[in-house]
Symmetry: C2
């Protein structure tokens, strides 16, 4: 008996981009100390105050089934937060809680696209995007961007791709590139969606980690609320990756149908985690800034170090937890470089190729280890790349 | 902008079977005291010892991303449990942890069926089954059973339906009927799957709640392990409904692909909940019997009460948390009866029609409130039905 063709086709190359990450995890399991600059896992753990709130809720009896779209209190808090941050009136009927941002991404594409519809996404991309789209039976199609212009999609490329598509997935602040979309880019994206009648799926899980400018949510642009689904999560903003708590903001009718989808795919989210999430959101900006601060600091450390190695080129991140390094001078692919680095120096990074063709010859460095260790690892990495470039 | 046709089609009638349940919840929200005999929510809460184990894990730092198929310790414990209970060699490579049994049901169908394939299920059925299948893009097709022969599917009906199908979903002990499949029925099901090359998806979430005989897992029948996916969960066995912790047992290759599907749909399950689940499983049989005991007791109470009302007919449950009552003598549908009962006596049940055509004219009574309250509510219900029958 074979698994269905469709799940075999989620990662058609057999490589879903996680190979190097898993190799590093295997080495760690064997007792080899590896410095992981791979996934977007904050090095701080979830704050004990949040965990205590969770425990109080659980002991208080919130251990049963919850309403599928989420608790009223949490939905209300998120609606208020979105209203405040974007100026767009948002009610609990626009909010569905999901077991993590990944589940929200999958559900949003189920809601936007039928089987066989084309779903667009921007290259470079977060590693799960194409597989997520393919898992829904939609056709995953990239719009390539260029390292040279900060990975902003162009009007021409958007327009060409949009004519036969049903949805467009964007992510600003961006993983893996650290870029944020300019007001002009966002305007072009909004016009493209309107001209071609696309759903816009806007993954904004890094919206509290901005190092330059301010966050633009495209749902706030004129006439966009009715065709935009925003993906949110507490993973990055509150160091709650393992709590799997995310949400979708969408038009009311969409939320109704997404709730029915959730009834048949997950049946709701843990009540005590939703109560912990509510507590976390109620801690306000100061808490979020505290979680974001280490990444801002390490970004500056990293740019300082990389500047000492002229053959390497960093794309200065404007937001998020990552830095993209152009290592094309080494003559190696990101994957080959990553494998050599892991083997020789026990430092793990993500190859640019895990994030699409546009990031080939790059590596993504997660700024997720303690400052000194991070600085040392990055210096070793840069020296290694420079030595290779000079060979 | 409209939601995709496919999510609009998950519940084509617009009624997903939860209408009466939601009506009761609305009344409760308005402050009206309603006795809920609707969903399979144990009236005991999750044991504090399990919640304390969860909190210790969370405070201990298990708050980050986990391996997508689950923690090694939990997978190993479940594999050992399945091996012991069924005699079938089961390793961690046969186990994937899911965020609840519902997610496992959805994933198993994604793994078994391509879009357009026919997925069979037995009528009466748990309310989410058809929508779950439709959410995957497969075609949901029922095999009807009869109240009169204990809701066992017949060889002829299985065989007829199987010729054009790709999978068969069964549930024993059964929700909503309380029936368990006999050894003969299980043998017929196994032969049908082998003769027609079907995947068997066996939902066994009530396997610790058996009031007569012993549990038969069809995966243990000859040549069935290679084509069977078993759905498990701690919701019912450990009163952990709100913790959303389930699993799939399947062949290794299927687990590999299901893990890739999970990477793109949920991205793993909370580590601290997996640790709590491990703690719960380690409490052993005595704990599980303690959780199951109230339902066994209420089953006997219920059969005693119903025997006093000759116009009503209960199907004595062999397992699970529910009792099906044949109220056709009232001349009402299950839905009309349920609505009238809720309106007049503020007692909420699930109409048989929520579970398919074969259960029309029945109601499902969840035995999930404290004994005396349960006995009183059931007596009121039976008297109400009897009065209607005599009108």
């Amino acid at each position: 008996m074979q698994p269905s063709q469709r799940i075999q086709d989620i990662s058609p190359s057999g490589d879903n981009g996680w190979g190097l990450f898993l190799q590093a995890r295997d080495m760690i399991a064997q007792g080899i100390p590896v410095i992981e600059l791979t996934i977007g896992e904050p090095d701080i753990r979830t704050d004990p105050s949040i965990l205590n709130a969770m425990h109080a809720s659980a002991l208080g009896g919130h251990t049963g089934y919850t309403n599928v779209p989420g608790t009223t209190d949490l939905r209300r808090a998120i609606a208020a937060r979105v209203s405040t941050r974007t100026g767009v009136k948002t009610t609990i009927d626009n909010v569905m809680i999901t077991p993590g941002g990944q589940s929200a991404l999958f559900s949003a594409h189920m809601g936007a696209c039928n089987v066989g519809d084309t779903a667009l996404y921007i290259d470079p991309f977060y590693a799960t995007y194409p597989g997520t789209i393919r898992a829904t039976g939609a056709v995953a199609q990239t719009i390539k961007t260029q390292s040279e212009n900060g990975f902003q999609p162009t009007a021409a490329d958007l327009n060409d791709a949009a004519s036969k598509a049903q949805s467009l997935l964007i992510n600003s602040p961006n993983n893996p590139t650290g870029s944020t979309y300019t007001a002009q880019t966002m305007q072009t994206i909004a016009e493209t969606c309107q001209n071609h009648n696309l759903w816009l799926i806007s993954d904004e899980v890094y919206d509290t980690q901005l190092w330059q400018g301010h966050h633009i949510s495209p749902r706030a642009l004129p006439h966009m609320a009715e065709r935009t689904m925003v993906i949110g999560s507490l993973s990055k903003s509150h160091a709650m990756t393992g709590s799997r708590l995310g949400w979708i903001i969408a038009p009311e009718t969409m939320i109704e149908h997404l709730t029915n989808l959730a009834t048949h795919t997950t049946y709701g989210v843990q009540g005590y985690i939703q109560d912990a999430a509510l507590f976390a959101l109620n801690q306000g900006h100061t808490f979020e800034e505290k979680v974001a601060a280490p990444f801002k600091k390490r970004r500056d450390i990293a740019l300082g170090i990389i500047a000492n190695f002229p053959s390497l080129k960093a794309i200065p991140p404007k937001g998020g937890m990552y830095i993209m390094l152009d290592i094309r001078a080494t003559g190696l692919s990101g994957k080959a470089f990553g494998e050599a680095l892991l083997k020789k120096h026990h430092i793990a990074v993500m190859p640019g190729e895990s994030f699409g063709q546009a990031a080939a010859g790059h590596i993504r460095i997660a700024m997720t280890v303690e400052d000194t260790k991070f600085a040392n690892a990055l210096t070793t990495l840069c020296q290694f790349a420079t030595d290779l470039s000079n060979e």
